[in-house]
């Protein structure tokens, strides 16, 4: 469904892999090996050679903004540009804040008063609100406590099951990878996929 063929960014080895519909694949590798750069290349935010296709459609064939709505990246650190949480959602009423243990009225909260863990969970909901077909998650549970991690994992699993979306999940936690992913990709320090 999501196919990456010899994706080659400047100064890095070519990378190929594919994701099936509904599949959750973990990606690991030493810090600085280029996981984040790979994810950025997949959403066409950094110029790279090679082909990336979603259901047969090449990324070049779609307007960049549309491609990024269908193949969505959740960066490790979330950014907020408006004062309240709700302004970052097209339909704040539809976001399942309570599913991630957040205040059901979170839409009215001021962003600058949120903790980093709350921001991280809200950023995940913000991405999911766009109903992406491929979900690229860059360490989505890095700053969360055990209860929140469990909620995030269950929410994403359910989203994939319901929508048939595929997910590439960057995780440094071996236990988490074992728990979540039937298949794992490992990136070498040079940036090649083993």
């Amino acid at each position: 469904m999501f196919q990456v063929d010899s994706l080659c960014c400047v100064g890095r080895p070519p990378v190929s892999f594919s994701l099936q519909a509904g599949e959750l694949v973990c990606l690991s590798g030493p810090s600085g090996c280029g996981k984040t750069r790979l994810l950025r290349a997949l959403i066409d935010l950094d110029p790279c050679e090679g082909t990336v296709t979603l259901n047969g459609a090449r990324r070049e064939s779609l307007p960049a903004a549309l491609w990024r709505r269908r193949v969505a990246l959740l960066p490790a650190e979330s950014r907020w540009w408006a004062a309240t949480v709700g302004e970052h959602f097209a339909d704040p009423g539809a976001a399942p804040f309570d599913r991630l243990g957040l205040d059901p009225q979170a839409a009215g909260l001021a962003v600058e008063r949120l903790s980093s863990g709350e921001r991280q969970r809200l950023a995940l909901l913000r991405v999911l609100a766009g109903r992406p077909e491929v979900l690229l998650l860059d360490e989505p549970t890095a700053n969360l406590d055990a209860a929140s991690i469990e909620r995030v994992e269950s929410l994403i699993s359910q989203y994939l099951a319901d929508s048939g979306a595929a997910c590439l999940w960057v995780s440094h936690d071996r236990e988490q990878r074992r728990r979540l992913c039937a298949r794992s990709l490992a990136m070498t320090a040079e940036g090649a996929l083993a």
Partner: protein, 263 residues
């Protein structure tokens, strides 16, 4: 009109020297900057005085156009030099020049032909000061706006990219920045219009009055100039911001800060 002697100017220059001397400890670099700028003022204005004298003596469209082109080229350089981060290559110079050309030149032409209506329309006594005032103000606004645009894009690159990641268009991703940048470009003009006549007596009108023109006639000219400047600076800033934003992104809506150079 009472003319000034060289000695009169020297007395005024003493003030600049006094400032340079007084501030030398607080701002070590200031005296040199002050002196260089003061020297430039004296030299450049003397030079343009001679050029205008020659120009007035033989009225020709070619010479007026040539001087206008030189003014535009220098203004383009000034816009570029005032930017902390500027676009690399020809763009760093081109965006400012193009925006000023589109706004200032069009408006100056319009004013000369339609509003002032002197025959010939390129009469240097009208054309050069008019263009000069337009260019000067447009230059300040564009320089301010472009400087803020590139600086804000640099500082808020993570936020801009976060919005792109969510599938927002480039226009949405910089909407907040664009608003502020445009505002910073036109606010000086709005302030100038608001304060005109109450707090400040604008330079051109003052000059005409000093030269003996009836105040009411001088005021009419000043009102026209203020409106032209507003149009020139406003449209110039709009154009520059639009071109600048377009250059910040590539055809795949990627934020391309690698196109900026730091100075």
């Amino acid at each position: 009109m009472t003319t000034l002697s060289t000695w009169d100017l020297a007395i005024a220059a003493m003030l600049v020297l006094l400032l340079a001397f007084t501030a030398r400890d607080m701002y070590p670099g200031l005296p040199r900057q002050l002196l260089v700028a003061a020297l430039r003022t004296a030299l450049q204005l003397t030079l343009i005085g001679l050029v205008l004298k020659a120009l007035f003596a033989n009225v020709s469209l070619l010479w007026v156009a040539l001087l206008a082109a030189v003014m535009l080229a220098v203004a383009g350089y000034e816009v570029m030099a005032r930017q902390h981060r500027r676009f690399g290559g020809a763009w760093g110079y081109g965006i400012g020049v193009l925006s000023m050309f589109i706004s200032s030149f069009t408006i100056a032409l319009f004013a000369l032909i339609v509003v002032v209506g002197h025959d010939p329309w390129y009469q240097p006594q009208y054309a050069i000061p008019l263009l000069g005032m337009l260019l000067g103000n447009t230059m300040s606004s564009i320089a301010l706006a472009l400087d803020r645009l590139t600086q804000s894009a640099w500082e808020q690159r993570d936020t801009i990219e976060a919005r792109l990641m969510l599938g927002h268009s480039t226009a949405e991703a910089v909407s907040g920045i664009r608003q502020q940048v445009f505002r910073s470009g036109v606010i000086p003009i709005i302030n100038a219009m608001a304060a005109a006549g109450v707090v400040s007596l604008p330079g051109m009108m003052t000059g005409q009055i000093l030269a003996g023109a009836p105040p009411v006639e001088a005021v009419k000219y000043q009102i026209m100039i203020m409106f032209l400047i507003t149009g020139g600076a406003g449209f110039g800033t709009l154009t520059a911001v639009r071109l600048g934003v377009r250059r910040l992104f590539d055809e795949r809506d990627r934020l391309r800060l690698d196109r900026l150079r730091r100075f």
